[in-house]
Symmetry: C2
Subunit: 425 residues, 2 copies
């Protein structure tokens, strides 16, 4: 790429950022009704232009197949009538969620009579950088809009044609509700320099970036972004089966946590079993996993229960398999389990299975992960399952958003103070 | 500075970061009682070593006087017995505040019986970079500790001797409560390279930076920091006197907002008066300010009411005087006032004086500042006045903390999920 093209991408992205910022104020003040009308009209447009979307997607699929994209990624990229309908339904669902803007988060009255309210406001401009799934265009655009934020969407180059038409449907929605069209912008180039510009923050016109995609995308964004990032790099998720675990419950939770879906961030990657129940609980759990086709990589104790168990190497304890593979280890009680999680975990989601409420409470208190569970599957790590209605991702950072990032986490706040002429002594 | 020295500062700061992170876990789990005992013991140590602190401060003052430090900065640097006592009282006051860690921020139960709690946790490691006032050492260290965070304090080089002894008192407190000494660390060098290392984030061992000092310090930190920053660059604070303002109330608020203390960030810098009350309200307000020794820089309308008014230039509308100077302008009603604030303001604190509740509510809703006030002085922009007990600063960013940053804003959260064996369908 020549320096002239680089300059033109930089200029284009600057202009995108400025348009987003200019629209953010009006968007932040938009009524719930206007935002919902825009979402309903966008959903209608997605349905009306379904055939066109599928046709554009076919062009993306052809190009991707020729470029040798993996089968898994082709499936992520693919849109058919059913998937378009599911996208439209998703937008309708977001319209049905309560408006997070304007919520009164706290109220207090001071001895001098000042009445102070903390009220939710939008964050401003949200950048979303994603990979092959074109449905993120609709999903992320709708979530940002409902929370009163302007969105700058940078889809995968694979899904360029699909995302372009989906984006047009969102703009139709904005237009129908008289909201600024720049409220949801799609980066109109496949040039990768655009991502670099977003990471630099578009001259102060980008308030947060949400990367949605594989580990290498997230790692790059976390490393290079000059603005806050809502994301998790990986989910090294643990299930600890305590001495006081009910074996049947442990079976159900371990099976579900590992195998319900292996490719999600809340899928368990490591099983820890208390040495106190090595004789009773270890073999049934390990054999269950093996029998269901899961590869088990274990320490010496785990290898002792079944010849099918492979040896775990040190790297296994910090590997997110996202596949039907699990590492397993016998530990000396709760403290050893928590030490292991602190050392190898990713502060995403961790679970204890036990009937001992004292140890359960210690685990819930002491394990420093965004989500800690007692006697429930780690696959509940999901905004929908938390009742957030939808999520834009799961964050493991400690700032602002942590765990599932739903509409509420896409807002900030301000203080409103009502007085009767008070001055400060 | 040679590259060897640079390397040694970098190594030292890395070690500081690692020690902070290593202590943060224990600190996050420390009981309220232990934290309060540490604070009480630190306050006692400050009192016991008061003479030593004043003596060390005298050395700092001598060096600063020789270096030609301004009188205002010398006053900021100075500690006497009264100021040491006020520092100790400040630490006692922080001990008396409720513990922000472990607060249950939200609870919800899902249809499947999962009980989910959002619980406050510490942020982790907080870096504080400050200038001459050595009392920040005690104040910031105590606030970070109470919120369960490890602190890395980088004081001004002017106050090196004073801060070193104050820090020793804090460490005595930690020791008395069996808390890790690395919970509050003072950067043990005046080398400015240490600040650069903090801005780079100490290899992931710094979660947030709070700069406390002048505009150039804050600007550098905001520009260069690779970690989140809680700060405001400036407070371009407006008082808008609406058509329906009570003149006596406007007088009291304008006088207090501008002149109670002119050097604080909540001091008013611009007076906007609705053209509808130009004849009745403008002259009394302008003359009041002039009579109290405040310089007024105005547009043509304002200049018309008194020959002492100087001409306002465009730069005046975006200048934070922090002095007995105010810019003043007549505007065409509420919308023009809000446009002016949006264009020239700094999203810090803005006020409307009016008896018209409709316009007051519009102002409170539409002005996008951390603090918006109706009929009250802007000098209430302060954590203590908000009832937060203490503040580490005021933030104008939209992420995580906004407005006064008190103990609650120095925490993050996590989700605790309690189940009875639930697995995800």
């Amino acid at each position: 790429m020549g320096s002239q093209e680089a300059a033109s991408v930089a200029d284009m992205m600057t202009a995108l950022g400025e348009r987003a910022r200019a629209s953010a104020h009006a968007l932040g003040l938009a009524s719930t009704d206007a935002k919902n009308r825009a979402l309903a009209a966008a959903a209608a447009a997605l349905r009306a232009r379904g055939a066109q979307i599928v046709e554009a997607n076919a062009r993306d699929m052809d190009a991707a197949a020729k470029a040798g994209v993996t089968k898994a990624n082709l499936d992520r990229l693919m849109l058919d009538a059913r998937r378009v309908e599911s996208m439209a339904t998703g937008v309708d669902d977001i319209a049905a969620l309560p408006d997070p803007v304007g919520r009164v988060l706290a109220t207090f009255e001071r001895p001098n009579g000042l009445k102070i309210e903390r009220v939710a406001t939008p964050l401003g401009v949200i950048g979303v950088i994603y990979e092959s799934r074109p449905n993120v265009t609709a999903d992320a655009g709708a979530l940002c809009l409902k929370a009163g934020n302007a969105a700058i969407l940078r889809g995968g180059s694979d899904s360029f044609h699909s995302s372009t038409i989906i984006h047009q449907c969102l703009v139709e929605g904005l237009r129908a509700a008289n909201l600024p069209e720049a409220a949801i912008q799609l980066v109109p180039t496949r040039d990768r320099a655009a991502v670099g510009e977003m990471l630099k923050g578009l001259g102060g016109n980008l308030d947060v970036i949400v990367p949605r995609g594989g580990k290498s995308l997230v790692a790059r964004v976390q490393e290079e972004a000059r603005v806050p990032v809502f994301a998790h790099l990986e989910g090294i998720v643990h299930v600890y089966v305590d001495a006081a675990a009910d074996l049947d419950m442990a079976r159900a939770i371990v099976r579900n946590a590992k195998l319900r879906r292996t490719g999600v961030c809340g899928a368990a990657e490591t099983l820890l079993v208390d040495r106190a129940v090595e004789r009773t609980h270890l073999a049934p759990l390990v054999k269950l996993l093996l029998d269901e086709g899961c590869e088990v990589r274990g320490d010496a104790a785990v290898r002792g229960v079944d010849p099918r168990v492979a040896a775990a190497h040190d790297a296994d304890w910090s590997t997110e398999y996202l596949d039907a593979v699990i590492s397993a280890k016998v530990v000396d009680g709760l403290d050893a389990a928590m030490d292991h999680i602190e050392r190898y975990g990713s502060h995403h989601t961790d679970c204890i299975v036990t009937q001992d409420s004292g140890r359960a409470e210690r685990f819930l208190r002491e394990v420093d992960s965004a989500i800690v569970l007692h006697n429930a599957s780690t696959q509940f790590a999901d905004g929908g399952e938390f009742g957030f209605g939808a999520e834009i991702g799961i964050a493991t950072g400690r700032m602002h958003a942590r765990g599932p990032v739903g509409l509420e986490q896409l807002t900030s706040f301000k203080y409103r103070v009502r007085g009767a002429g008070q001055v400060r002594p």
